[in-house]
Symmetry: none
Subunit: 200 residues, 2 copies
Amino acid sequence: MPLTKRQKQILDYLKWFIDRHDYAPSFDEIRQEFGYTSLATVHEHLSNLERKGYIRRSYRESRSVEFPPDVEPSIPLPLLGTVAAGMPIEAVEDNETLSIPGEMIRSGFNHYVLRVSGDSMIDEQIRDGDHIVVNARETAEDGEMVIALVRDEAATVKKLYREDGNRVRLQPANENVEPIIEDAADVRVRGVVVGLIRQY
Amino acid sequence: MPLTKRQKQILDYLKWFIDRHDYAPSFDEIRQEFGYTSLATVHEHLSNLERKGYIRRSYRESRSVEFPPDVEPSIPLPLLGTVAAGMPIEAVEDNETLSIPGEMIRSGFNHYVLRVSGDSMIDEQIRDGDHIVVNARETAEDGEMVIALVRDEAATVKKLYREDGNRVRLQPANENVEPIIEDAADVRVRGVVVGLIRQY
DNA sequence: GCCAGCTACCGAACAGGCTCCGAACAAGGT
DNA sequence: ACCTTGTTCGGAGCCTGTTCGGTAGCTGGC
């Protein structure tokens, strides 16, 4: 719903004041700002702004104007489970979720979150307890970090490289862990790692 | 629900005090700060702050005010600049922000985001280009990862350890980088690292 | 032109919240 | 038992927001 000229002036003043003080102006401060002699004028303007949805207020409370919350571009993604080298994905109970920065994911694609267990990717700066954001898809480029299922047994996070003879190498990032080399037919990609979240 | 001027002043004092001491002020300390002669005034203000959801308290417990956990799924934080070993913080233009999972930060405290440049913390699994979430405060515990300013020259991200003789050691996590040992007076903490975000 | 409806404004009276006080009571810790 | 800390009650003045009745200008439709 559009604003009148006067209403926009008042709305701008509210924004300016709240941004500057972190609390809303009183009716009397608004009255002075615009040179009114009656608070009823201020009251009516704020009522109209509220009716049009530009502000919210509480009845009979001081300095209670606030702006309606705008929808944040942040996406809660399901935390599907824990993944480790050589171990299957271990489901977590409930429908736990973790909110992911909207900047991290491309809209229109399925994503999920896994908790990393173990140090098999330590040389890629992924440590035990980190959360990785995964773009769910079935194919991956050479060298991408993937969630891979080997013969429907073990879900692991590894870097994927294609070798001669239609074989693939799942390369960990830890000198103490050996790479896995299998026929391409036995390896299924379940997603590509696109982000990482760590809490200290 | 918005605050009045007085309520915000008291809330700011609570934040400042808790940030500094790691425990809440007593009613009497608040009373002195604002020059009241009755504790009832303090009590009423804290009750109002609790009613509006800005603090939580336990009935009849000393120094029990705390800040409620954030309910919002994600909070946009300002990206203040880039930090590297031995280099000052380099400001980024504009007011860039990065959305952070609400689970990562304690509400009621100032946070910001920095982009990490260089590999000086590689053995702590922080790599070039990562974003770190920083809780802005002036003090840190032994062993915490901090943003430190040495003689107002160089802002670095290091782990902080206290040494004998009122000196502090700023310990990198890279065998090729030497630790910095300085008088405590010359080192100022600008924040503590509480989270990490990486995009592939 | 005339009326209806909307915006913009005023003044005064009213009601309740906000901010503060002092004193007495309750619970915990030392 | 004493001190510190938080709780509750009654009361006060001021600050703030609410409501009502009224004036004025502007716009579009009949």
